[in-house]
Amino acid sequence: MTAQMWVFLAYFCVVFGIGWYSLRATRGEKDYWIAGGELGWFTGGATMAATHTSAGTFVGTIGIMYTAGWSFGWVLLSIPLSYWFMVAVLAPRFTRQKELTIPAFIEKRYYGKGIRGLAAGIILVATVVYIQAQIVAGGLIANTVFGVPTTVGMVVFTAILLVYTVVGGMVAVVYTDAFQLVVMGLGALFAVPLALRQVDGLDGLLMLAESANPLVFTFDAVPEVLLLTMALSFFLGGIATPEKLIRLYAMKDMRTIRRGVLFAIVMILAINLLVFILALAAIVLFPTLPTGDLAMPMVASAVLPATLGAIMLAAITAAMMSTVDSLLIVAGSALSVDIYQNLIDPDVSPERRMWVDRLGILLVGSMPVALLVSGIGEGELVQFIVLLFTALMAAAFVLPVVGGILWRRATKEGAAAAMVGGVTATFAWEVLGTPDIEPVLCGFLVSGLLFVGVSLFTTPPPQTAIAPYFDDVH
């Protein structure tokens, strides 16, 4: 066994240990889906930051910065803005009524089971595609570290994720996320000084990076309008993607949410800043990489010492796992709670519910790997699937969620039209639109027009639907 293998083995033992103790701490559905709604600021903020910091950061962001330069870094400044919006505008009203899932909120605010099923369906389809991309990356890392075929790596990677998520639910997810955030942070934190030692510190790095790629500090590599619409995509996706919103329900109260989100913002910015520096180091130290996606694996294997290098690769795996486990919770709850228990068998007994919940996660988690093994969806690039997923979620959910708690006149029909229209327009732009503009712009505009227009032309919502979010708020 190599040092790398020992590190991975130790890492997975810790994750299984957390899953086991989380099973013992899970006493009901509320524990299983939202960790009892009693998380503190550290675990709540850490799970939010870890979910955000996916393979998109450790493989995609560094890869794009390697090829396109620092202009992409400005895009990511929209992220703290979105978290501020979430905590200052959205959370106070959104968390007045704690639900188990986001579609459950949609049902309550928009007074209909059908619209809840629609929201669950959108979540289900989008997350299966997104999880596929992460699983492919997991298979590639398993291939690099253990030398097993990528397909075997994907199956094993999924099996590990499913075991602790199915068993421990949200409690397991938040505690593994906190651990994974520490691993990711340490890997990036120690990689930076080791890289800087090779290039005469930060000043030397900046000078050498410009020598190696003269476009690195310019805006010439990517069209400005594309950068702006990417920023919009990250901003809207940051506000209202279901896997982030559900964490607001999982935290204890508004004070905890404020502190937790602030902690998440600090961690996300710090990790991204470290990743930016590592991208520059990769430009200098490895000027002829065939693809930017190899930048971080090269930093891990050639800049870092053996143990830390293995920990860094484990951190990249951790980044994927912490994102996928959160999505499994969201997609699994969409299938079992919002579709099965809501539309198919509303009278299911409480004892059976937990089994249905676990079966939901198992089914949703197995689907992407089954599709991949069948050859469907192979070869897509992680960072762009992240962007497409974010655009779809933003187009579908930002207006129904944000508009739902800020605008009394928002109706069920308006929300349904916004979801369907937003998703359709995003897909249409993705396939037919100009590549210089992110599809989120089109999706969001169409969603907004339909949300407002259809709401104004339909019967106003009943008082029972809006009272929980608007009463006593002036």
């Binding site: 810790v14 240990g17 957390i18 103790y21 989380s22 013992r24 701490a25 794009i64 090829t67 396109a68 291939n143 690099t144 505690y175 906190a178 651990f179 520490v182 691993v183 340490l186 120690f190 080791l194 090779q198 290039v199 005469d200 000078m207 050498l208 410009e210 020598s211 190696a212 790629n213 003269p214 476009l215 590599a221 200098v284 130290l285 490895f286 000027p287 002829t288 990489l289 065939p290 693809t291 930017g292 190899l294 090269m298 294997s301 050639a302 800049v303 870092l304 010492p305 053996a306 143990t307 830390l308 290098g309 920990i311 897509e380 690039l381 762009f384 962007l387 497409l388 396939v431 639109g433």
Partner: protein
């Protein structure tokens, strides 16, 4: 479904390569193997570097683009830089400064350089001032001549280097970090792509001291074990 972003990424991915004058499209040169020998002189702080390159194309079996010149580049680190290289087939190649410390040169390969569907090229160069010597510790960075990108994601070690230093020196840290001892005064390392430098820190008095990477490794393990311990206690309390 992802045709739009993929085409955008392809365009962006070509930017650095285009900046260095060699796009990695089909039919362009790729590096199949780069073997490097670095010989450190003890006294004058210089290094002699020999490079053997095997070049081919992205698609196996495709005709070699002999009409396309091969571009080489080198990044200078501090005083350590390269102005010219000697070609194994005779002649020398001047490296021209571009931006900052980056220098480039192009060479056109001939039909007689091709064997078994691959083009081979041998070059050598001397780098002055590679050593910084604060006391008994030395720090050396030897710029590497880099050619076309490697063939995409083959998983093989396309870059193989052998470093020779005076036998009484003890290397405590290397770049690439996989640099390992191989015989008296000899060190070897291999990577999937060529780095812009091969570097090391060593002690000239033969003493062994822990290098910075070892300290980082130990610190990382300590922090993780401490954090895991606290987490375990917290979860046990929750489960109880």
């Amino acid at each position: 479904m992802y045709a739009r972003p993929l085409s955008w990424l392809l365009a962006v991915a070509l930017l650095p390569a285009a900046a260095s004058g060699q796009a990695s499209e089909a039919g362009a040169w790729v590096t199949l193997l780069q073997q490097v020998d670095v010989e450190m002189g003890a006294g004058d702080g210089s290094a002699d570097v020999g490079v053997r390159l095997e070049l081919g194309t992205q698609e196996l079996g495709a005709p070699l683009p002999l009409d396309v010149p091969v571009t080489f580049e080198v990044l200078g680190f501090g005083n350590a830089t390269v102005d010219e290289v000697h070609l194994g087939q005779g002649g020398r190649l001047i490296l021209w400064p571009t931006v900052g410390s980056r220098k480039v040169a192009t060479v056109r390969l001939r039909a007689e350089d091709v064997r078994d569907g691959k083009a081979s090229l041998e070059v050598s160069y001397r780098v002055e001032d590679v050593l910084e010597t604060p006391g008994t510790a030395v720090h050396a960075r030897i710029p590497m001549l880099t050619g076309p990108p490697v063939r995409g994601e083959t998983g093989e070690d396309a870059f193989q280097a052998r470093l020779s230093v005076p036998e009484e020196w003890t290397v405590t840290e290397g770049f690439p970090s996989g640099l390992r001892a191989s015989g008296p005064g000899g060190y070897v390392v291999s990577l999937s792509v060529a780095p812009s430098i091969v570097g090391f820190r060593a002690r000239t008095d033969g003493d062994w001291r822990p290098g910075f990477p070892l300290l980082v490794d130990v610190l990382t393990i300590l922090i993780l074990v401490t954090f895991a311990g606290f987490g375990w206690r917290h979860l046990r309390r929750m489960a109880a």
